[in-house]
């Protein structure tokens, strides 16, 4: 028992810090932070909260404009098909009427 007490007393005895301890701590505090490496930067970027913002940025800058362009293209396609068919139909009807009249003239 007394040995244990002695051991504890030795282990927990008060020790004074080295004389330059305060200066070293202050010097470390005044040092500029080290530049993070690209891996550290990537790791920071991939942390969940940042990743969400990256996803939002990708959606806003790439996916939404592509979707808008797709919709515009589909609409242009529908308008084009409609326009061509209207023009073609009117042309075809005129041809048909001309041909019909030609046949009537031949019969007479």
């Amino acid at each position: 028992m007394s040995n244990l007490e002695d051991d504890l007393r030795i282990a927990l005895r008060r020790e004074e810090p080295p004389a330059d301890f305060t200066e070293r701590v202050l010097a470390r505090l005044n040092q500029p932070p080290a530049e993070p490496t690209w891996r550290e930067r990537l790791a920071v970027l991939m942390r969940p909260p940042r990743l969400q913002w990256v996803a939002v940025a990708v959606i806003v800058s790439v996916i939404i404009p592509a979707g808008v362009q797709y919709r515009k293209g589909e609409r242009a396609k529908e308008q084009l098909l409609f326009a061509v068919r209207v023009a073609g139909t009117k042309l075809h009807q005129a041809q048909h009427k001309v041909a019909e009249t030609g046949r009537m003239g031949t019969r007479l």
């Binding site: 396609k77 308008q79 084009l80 209207v86 023009a87 073609g88 075809h92």
Partner: protein, 185 residues
């Protein structure tokens, strides 16, 4: 039926040159009176964009893609009216004036007394700034004006017309008579 122009069918088979589009703005006021109206204006860039979306696997769309390859613009205005007399011949005056300009020539004029239909086809060819094709169809309750700018095979266009107009939903300008408005479905 009275034929105003004694033009044979083969006259239509050919190509029209390209140039400036007709100014069809004078017709836009008719959209307010029409029970159904569709206005399509596809300039060069929209035409190219739309053509890119046409499927090469669909035979009809493949034909359209080939047909419009050299076009600079397609402009179509169709108006249907609930009653006769809701538009006047004077509404077409500005278009007819443009079609009287040098370079334009009317190749077909078909007037049907029975149906009271009047179809005129104009072609602009030759010169350094040729125009293209214009179709003006009038009926007491319907008005259709088409202007195609660019080189187009009229025979192929007519073949596509033989297939009929597709029933598609085109975003249309708002009419002041929404109650009367019908949609192409």
């Amino acid at each position: 039926m009275k034929i105003l122009g004694g033009f044979a069918l083969f006259v239509l088979v050919g190509t029209a040159g390209y140039g400036q589009a007709l100014d069809l703005k004078g017709l836009e006021k008719l959209a307010a009176k029409a029970s159904d109206s569709t206005e399509v204006a596809l300039d060069g860039s929209l035409l190219r964009l739309g053509a890119k979306f046409l499927s090469a696997d669909d035979p009809d769309q493949a034909k359209v893609k080939k047909l419009v390859a050299e076009l600079k613009g397609i402009y179509v205005k169709t108006y249907e009216f609930a009653q006769e007399g809701e538009y006047a011949e004077s509404d077409l005056a500005s278009i007819r004036n443009q079609l009287r300009e040098p370079g334009w020539s009317r190749i077909v004029g078909v007037k049907s007394k029975k149906d009271r239909d009047n179809t005129e086809i104009y072609l602009k060819t030759g010169g350094s700034e040729p125009g293209g094709l214009a179709i003006v169809c009038t009926n007491p309750k319907e008005l259709v004006v088409v202007n195609i700018v660019g080189k187009i095979d009229l025979d192929e266009l007519s073949e596509l017309g033989d297939l009929g107009v597709p029933k598609i939903d085109i975003e249309k300008p708002k009419s002041t008579k929404p109650a009367d408005k019908k949609d192409h479905d």
